[in-house]
């Protein structure tokens, strides 16, 4: 029977199928960070259990750490305790670890692919919903809760029932000025924040094939914002080229064997999906979210919608709440919205390609007066590479801050936060109320659009700037 990419990766990892359809699913790779792991290690300790396969795990600190000079340690006590706890735990349980002073440290979803730890055909999990990022490699990657973190540590498996298959078929080519970020925002705008619920989305079609790995990761990263269990893209030459030479990736003969296997993974002709959505890439413009969930998104050329136009009462109330929280006026042009803070980074857009895109816009320009603009590389390796290319100088000369790697302002859990009422243009993935700090107002955009907002001081159409 014709199978999808998801079916193939799933089937290859079923250790045992139980009576009610639940599967014991083998997990190839587990990524560990400081926030969702402490109670899992505690559980192992209480039950006198060990890690079944320490060499299948990689731990890193990212969520809680400051992105300023870290030679003095972490000032905030609770964050410091979480980081120290992780360090004690990885030492006690023998978990491979990139510490705060390791150049390979970075956001968990950036370092997996970057180090060749996340590879096609794998099952990859992490106690974090944006684990869907790794699906860009052609792997099945999803977020899990703390009990499941402990379960993977002890058994190298999870008890799971298969998800349904959904195809997002992106036809045509993206217009100039549009990136993977604009595409995924447009997709979520089209299918809604619950459009993928219960499904694993496979992204396919011309525009997806044309994306580089960074763009594909951006798209898969936000699958969870469409409610999907995971997002996947079939591995192809772009994928294999990316993997080649990555530090932990197989080399030589082993790599050739792996590629031969990876070539068998794409969905068979005639494979059946439970749901199919067709997206016209040629109609997409640079996108910006105006409300407080990623579905509330519009082309930058649009105006703030009027809740009064919404017929459905419950939706009208929700739209009104968004307009109020975001301090908007219906009918106002999005390009008229003044910005206080620009954040370029996160597991959605913290890769070298994203920083290049921002630097292209920033080059020879200045951050507008009164705007604070942060660029936070997704990892130490991204930071090094950007410095080799001189991107840090371009950005610093333009008045951007150049920071140490971490989750930073993607979530208000470390010192990089919005203050109440501040409006940001952000390359991260969630614009929920208070996500970047209590009372903060977030507009999600691509890195080039974020840089355009920084140099103009308001949301701006990058196509009119470069």
């Amino acid at each position: 029977m014709a199978r999808t990419l998801f079916d193939k990766v799933w089937d290859a990892h079923v250790v045992e199928r139980l009576q009610d359809g639940t599967c014991v699913l083998y997990i190839d790779r587990h990524l560990v960070h400081e926030v969702t792991s402490p109670q899992a290690f505690e559980g192992l300790r209480m039950a006198g259990r060990k890690l079944r396969r320490p060499d299948a795990h990689i731990a890193v600190v990212d969520h809680n750490i400051p992105t300023s000079d870290r030679s003095l340690g972490i000032a905030e006590e609770e964050s410091r305790i979480q980081v120290e706890t992780l360090e004690t735990n990885v030492a006690a349980f023998g978990v491979p670890y990139f510490g705060l002073n390791d150049a390979r440290q970075g956001i968990v979803h950036i370092i997996g692919p970057e180090q060749g730890l996340s590879l096609p055909g794998m099952t990859i999990v992490c106690g974090d919903s944006h684990t869907s990022t790794h699906g860009a490699m052609g792997s099945l990657a999803f977020g899990i809760g703390t009990s499941e973190v402990e379960h993977v540590m002890a058994t190298q498996t999870l008890l799971q029932k298969p998800a349904k298959n959904m195809l997002v078929d992106v036809r045509g080519a993206l217009p100039p000025g549009c990136t993977g970020k604009d595409l995924v925002l447009a997709i979520i705008g089209q299918i809604g924040t619950a459009g993928g619920t219960g499904h694993v989305i496979e992204y396919a079609g011309e525009a997806i094939r044309a994306l580089d790995m960074a763009g594909r990761m951006t798209v898969c990263n936000m699958s969870i914002e469409a409610g999907a269990r995971a997002g996947m893209i079939a591995p192809d030459e772009t994928t294999f080229e990316y993997v080649r030479g990555k530090p932990f990736a197989p080399k030589g003969e082993a790599l050739e064997q792996a590629i031969a296997y990876w070539r068998t993974l794409p969905s068979d002709a005639g494979a059946v999906y439970d749901k199919v959505v067709v997206v016209d890439a040629t109609k997409i413009a640079p996108m910006v979210t105006w409300g407080t969930n990623p579905e509330a998104v519009l082309p930058i050329t649009a105006v703030v919608p009027n809740p009064a136009d919404e017929a459905d009462e419950a939706k009208r109330v929700q739209l009104q709440r968004m307009v109020d929280y975001m301090a908007l006026t219906p009918g106002q042009k999005l390009t008229d919205l003044k910005i206080d803070v620009v954040f370029i980074g996160s597991c959605t857009n913290g890769r070298i390609e994203d920083i290049r895109a921002a630097a292209t816009v920033a080059k020879g320009r200045k951050v507008a007066a009164g705007v604070r603009a942060l660029v936070v590389p997704g990892s130490g390796i991204v930071k090094q590479q950007a410095e080799v290319e001189g991107l840090d100088r371009i950005l610093l000369d333009a008045g951007f801050e150049w920071r140490e790697p971490g989750c930073s302002m993607c979530l208000g859990m470390n010192p990089d936060k919005l203050t109440p009422g501040q409006r940001s243009a952000s390359t991260s993935n969630r614009n929920f109320e208070g996500r970047q700090g209590p009372g903060g107002r977030t507009h999600l955009v691509s890195p080039a659009m974020a840089a355009a907002a920084a140099v103009t001081g308001h949301l701006a159409d990058v196509r009119e700037i470069v």
Binding site: V15, T22, G43, H57, T157, L159
Partner: protein
């Protein structure tokens, strides 16, 4: 995980619908590194005033409900976030069983994973049990998992449904991990095959 066989104890009435995970344990207590110790913050905003003093009108601040092991509530108990701090807080307080007309999905799964028995019964029966619970003192309720019945203080037995797999795990004190470890031979042979067929898969060693 402790086995759940029969439980006879004080039941606390909480006649509220849509009790979300933030009500069960507010988000500000989530930066912890432990799963124990959250019991004092269970229902924090309902239980304490702004100065941290107990609100005497809240059920868990009253005798005998301070020692409650069973909680009876209304519809959609446990809605909100997926974090497991909510069942941890209940368990740490001493609650081993929650009875309600229905539960939010993820919370429902999380209770089982932490050895708490969630029982779905009609609103009408929940209200009867709530009346029993309000009798206080000697009005102990018994939950017999093997027989799948609740015994009211007047001796009447109320049957309830439970997924057989989940029942098996609870009765034997097997957490999901304990259960999966019974499949260890299958995992062993899967791994042997893996080393053979996917020899390219890198093991991680960091110096």
């Amino acid at each position: 995980m402790d086995a759940f066989t029969t439980l006879t104890g004080v039941a606390a009435p909480l006649p509220l619908a849509n009790v979300d995970t933030d009500k069960i344990i507010p988000a500000r207590f989530l930066k912890t590194i432990k799963r124990s110790g959250l019991g004092v913050h269970l229902f924090d905003t309902l239980r304490y005033d702004a100065n941290g003093a107990e609100r005497p009108e809240f059920v868990l601040n009253q005798e005998p409900y301070r020692h409650a092991e069973i909680l009876i509530a209304h519809e959609n108990f446990g809605c909100g976030s997926s974090r497991e701090h909510a069942p941890w807080a209940l368990l740490d307080f001493g609650i081993r069983c929650v009875i309600a007309p229905d539960f939010a999905d993820i919370f429902h799964t999380n209770t089982f994973k932490n050895g708490i028995l969630p029982i779905k019964l009609s609103r009408e029966i929940c209200d009867q049990l709530m009346d029993d619970a309000k009798l206080g003192g000697n009005a102990r309720i018994t939950v017999d998992l093997a027989e799948q019945v609740i015994v009211r203080p007047n001796g009447e037995k109320i049957p309830f449904e439970i997924d057989p797999f989940r029942k098996h795990l609870l009765l034997n004190g097997l957490d999901d991990i304990g259960q999966t470890l019974q499949h260890a031979p299958a995992i062993d042979s899967y791994e042997a095959k893996l080393r053979d067929e996917k020899a390219w898969m890198p093991a991680i060693h960091v110096d």
